[in-house]
Symmetry: C2
Subunit: 329 residues, 2 copies
């Protein structure tokens, strides 16, 4: 145990489909220690929540912080969630139903617990400490296997009464467009997610139009991850670059929708695809967005790449807990 | 002059392209008196702002309220506006440039003046006293000659740093769709405004497919107002009904976009077209929206028809001034 004062520490928790991460912050949001474990969702909900408690305990140990020095815990979780009750209603990723995250952690640690959508927590992190610092209105868009998004408007996360909202991935963009995982057609996610890109790129590879991708990753979507796509573009697979840029332009159109509606000062792009190709995304999304927003709004917003990486959700979840419990500094 | 106490009265002002309206409210937002004048925008900006001052003076006279009993004035104005400076930057409707509404009225009446976009003010009115009363998140959509919209989220109007935003009419809905007045293609306004409907209906009338409309209004768009469209539908012009319903379905798609992003509890529909055909709009917009939102959100929102009519903007502007000056009750 270190001997500095640890009163008012905050814990952020990122519950993912394959791994979970707990990180402990001091009152100035300096990271003190963390713990990462596999989620092992298949072991079931009870076991999973016990693992969550244990992960927080190990993170506190690593940080040299005692239970009674924890002022609050923020959890970023996949959903849909019941925000007020701090409960996972159901998750395709985890297979858990009605998981009482808030109650479980409050009982275990005796402090207030705030549960938010994992992407919302990440956007909140970028708003407080990352690429959206101090902005009046920040919109975050994170294209990966799916496409998540969130918005912090004048310090508040835009959420629904019960559920999280800001389903940027399900903006209907293409009337009669390709089928989306949500059951509708032509959603942003159906034309711009990593899965949409990988499908088109795999077809290009199969047709012999993407030799580098074919050699490196074959035609199995499971292997055509963001890194493989970036490597293929860098190696000169023009067909793949065209596919990625087209997806980025759809993302730009979604940005235009959000700019016309919310007037963000900063749009933060993050997630696997952007991490792998930040310059391409910043350029293509920015150009497409400016071509499609109302002409008067072309210069009202900036496009930035996320800064916090894998720490966005734990940082944002902890900061959200702090800001809801204590009020903004 | 009546002799009841009049301290803390609020004035709402609606600056329109053809007429202006000032209405005086007591502290409980009972209307005490009002004055309506033609805008006569062609007489220029200075004359126009002098008419505004005079209109407020006449409304106060009608209400039996002295200048020094006015706690604040709220103005709903067409834009684009500089919200902080309370200034019209430019208005196609009025032809005014850099009109200092806030400064002019503050000087004339010696009280705080708040300037907001006219549609935003109307949505705020519906949020405080109309169809969106007490809702956590209200979105208003007002299809008329153009299509305006606004959102009140947890008591706050969603606005930009400088300009008003929430340009629902310019959500890009149809890739490569018809040209919009804003210069882009396929905006909601280009497929669902009164003008879009009237153009299609005029063509139907010209082709002999809308006999009632042809007889009542001819093929001149200037005559094919919302009332004429409603009468034509009521009289059995099937082609016109089909055109209106298709436009309403586009509106429903825009509602789906907004629901997926903002999670409103209530979507309020108003404006000329909805006033003329409330049942048709409520039904068609509601059905189309529910078919296009994320399946999980189908039951999260209500569609309501606006309740305040022509008073929405004056009421909302006055209430906004009150809430910004005094804080929410």
């Amino acid at each position: 145990m270190s001997d500095g004062p640890k009163e008012g520490c905050w814990v952020g928790f990122d519950l993912g489909g394959t791994k979970m991460l707990a990180k402990v912050f001091d009152k100035d949001f300096k990271g003190l220690g963390q713990e990462r474990k596999k989620t092992k969702a298949h072991e079931g909900m009870e076991a999973g929540m016990a693992r969550m408690v244990h992960t927080v305990e190990k993170a506190l140990e690593a940080a040299g912080v005692a239970k009674d020095q924890v002022a609050g815990i923020g959890v970023g979780s996949p959903g849909p969630l019941d925000l007020k009750r701090g409960m996972i209603l159901t998750t395709p990723n985890l297979g858990w139903q009605n998981a009482p995250l808030k109650d479980t952690l409050e009982q275990a640690f005796g402090c207030p617990v705030v549960v938010a959508n994992d992407v919302d927590a990440g956007v909140y992190g970028e708003y407080r400490f990352g690429a959206g610092r101090q902005a009046r209105c920040v919109v975050g868009i994170f294209p990966g296997t799916g496409i998540g998004g969130g918005c912090v408007y004048e310090g508040r996360l835009i959420q629904g009464a019960v559920h999280s909202f800001m389903e940027i991935g399900h903006i209907p963009l293409v009337p009669g467009g390709p089928l989306c995982g949500c059951g509708r057609r032509g959603c942003l996610e159906a034309v711009a997610s990593r899965l949409a890109i990988a499908s088109a790129a795999a077809a290009a590879a199969f047709r012999g139009e993407a030799p580098h991708l074919l050699e490196a990753a074959g035609t199995d979507l499971a292997n055509i991850r963001s890194g493989a796509l970036a490597a293929s573009v860098a190696a000169g697979d023009a067909a793949v670059e065209q596919i990625v840029r087209e997806a980025a332009r759809w993302l730009g159109r979604a940005v235009a929708v959000v700019v016309n509606l919310m007037g963000p000062d900063v749009v933060v792009l993050g997630g696997g695809l952007v991490d792998a190709m930040p310059a391409l995304y910043k350029e293509e999304v920015g150009r497409a967005a400016r071509q499609q927003v109302m002409p008067a709004f072309e210069e009202t917003f900036m496009i930035e790449v996320a800064e916090l990486g894998d720490d966005a959700t734990v940082t944002g979840a902890a900061a959200l807990a702090r800001d809801l419990v204590v009020g903004r500094a």
